[in-house]
Subunit: 223 residues, 2 copies
DNA sequence: CAAATGTAATAGTAATACTATTATAATTCG
DNA sequence: CGAATTATAATAGTATTACTATTACATTTG
């Protein structure tokens, strides 16, 4: 599957960027290094100036690709959700039993990313950590409704909607499929965060994992 | 209970502020108006300069009370969690049946705040909305571990721990009481946000509510 | 009523986010 | 081939923000 994925390009809403970063070497460098730098210093302290230094280029060159750092964050997180969606669709394809399909989906959404694999210039392990620490900030803004209308969150919403449908397939009677799907997705990011910074607020320590917690939670709730 | 609460002062960790805002009129005005202004323009665009204008005072006067806007946010959210904790402890007191106690606790934590009541200068309805939109930003930072050590999140953690204990009381066998407690608390904020901005991702629309969703989720999971 | 303290205003600085303009390199096409 | 066009990047800014140092004024206290 890893090599298979390499023959695809993840397509991101064109409105998010000024110039497609996948189209040039500098663009790819911007993606590669911004992931490392945002992870290192956090989105608040991240600036295009600092990024310019590490990519050996100028601040203003970055502005050719992204309007501002918020859009860059949207790009990176959209890429991440798109990657997860791809893995989810691929691994649940042709699985006819609704329970099996649902557990595979939960696994895909809640699992910790272990190794950087498919895309040469994107480190998925670190990108996952960025999503854990910064994703909420991309929608907890005053501009969320306009940006939502512009389609900046389509991939994220589609992913939740896929999980929601699998929940309803498994138990058509259940009244909160969308809420449960969004809880699993957002909740797993939160559990990873707690594990790291507020360990007493979670039970997902080795050998336990968010995947086990949420799989049990969903199956018991839907029974 | 409302009048009863008025005879108490909610105590916030002294390290969060430079000078206790409850100790002066200006301090109370800072709290009152910052709640309204942060709600109106969001924490990113909120500045002490803008706050100075609405409280009819100077930017620098605000710095006498809070080091920066991040600390002010920590103060406001700590106050909120403290208020919720008080209501929770009060309403579950003397309830001996573990199931009843648990459902009351979930109700307190997940319910939507309807009216501004107890404290003259603090609007709890709007403060709840600030918590929904801004709370995650107060811990999704690079400084979280130091600030946690300084005790800036004690009330929040104590609240989750209370719920966690009630979960274990109801079902001592359950393996994820803390994870479930943190999911309920964080998840309910998230469901309120979705209801407002991503309505397709939640089922908590009238007459349904996050309280119903989470009460059912917890009881089914613990059965 | 003088000293001490509390409170607030003025006037800054450093850093950040972003932009306008110019320079240089690469490509296209007659 | 070489002029015109376009792509790309660097320079040099500006406006805003977050925060600080200093001074001025007001209030309290012994």
């Amino acid at each position: 599957m890893d090599e298979f994925l390499q023959s695809f390009k993840i397509i991101i809403n064109e409105k998010i960027y000024v110039k497609d970063p996948e189209s040039t070497d500098l663009g790819k460098k911007i993606i590669e290094q911004s992931i490392l730098l945002i992870h290192e210093i956090g989105i608040e302290k991240f600036t295009f100036k600092k990024l310019g230094v590490v990519i050996g280029s100028n601040e203003s060159s970055v502005y050719r690709y992204f309007e501002n750092k918020h859009k860059l964050l949207l790009y990176l997180t959209s890429w991440y959700w798109s990657w997860v969606e791809y893995k989810l669709v691929f691994s649940t394809n042709n699985i006819t039993k609704s329970k099996k399909r649902l557990t595979i989906a939960i696994e895909n959404i809640t699992m910790s990313i272990e190794e950087d694999s498919t895309f040469s210039h994107i480190n998925e392990v670190i990108l996952h950590k960025i999503v854990i620490n910064e994703y909420s900030k991309s929608y907890l803004t005053k501009e969320v409704d306009i940006e939502n209308k512009n389609g900046y969150f389509v991939i994220y919403k589609r992913l939740i909607s896929r999980l929601s449908m699998m929940i309803s397939d498994y138990n058509p009677e259940y009244a909160f499929p969308s809420s449960l799907a969004s809880t699993v997705l957002e909740g797993s990011l939160h559990q990873f965060f707690l594990k790291e910074h507020f360990p007493t607020l979670t039970d997902c320590h080795e050998p336990q994992s968010p995947t086990q917690y949420f799989t049990q939670l969903v199956l018991k709730t839907l029974k």
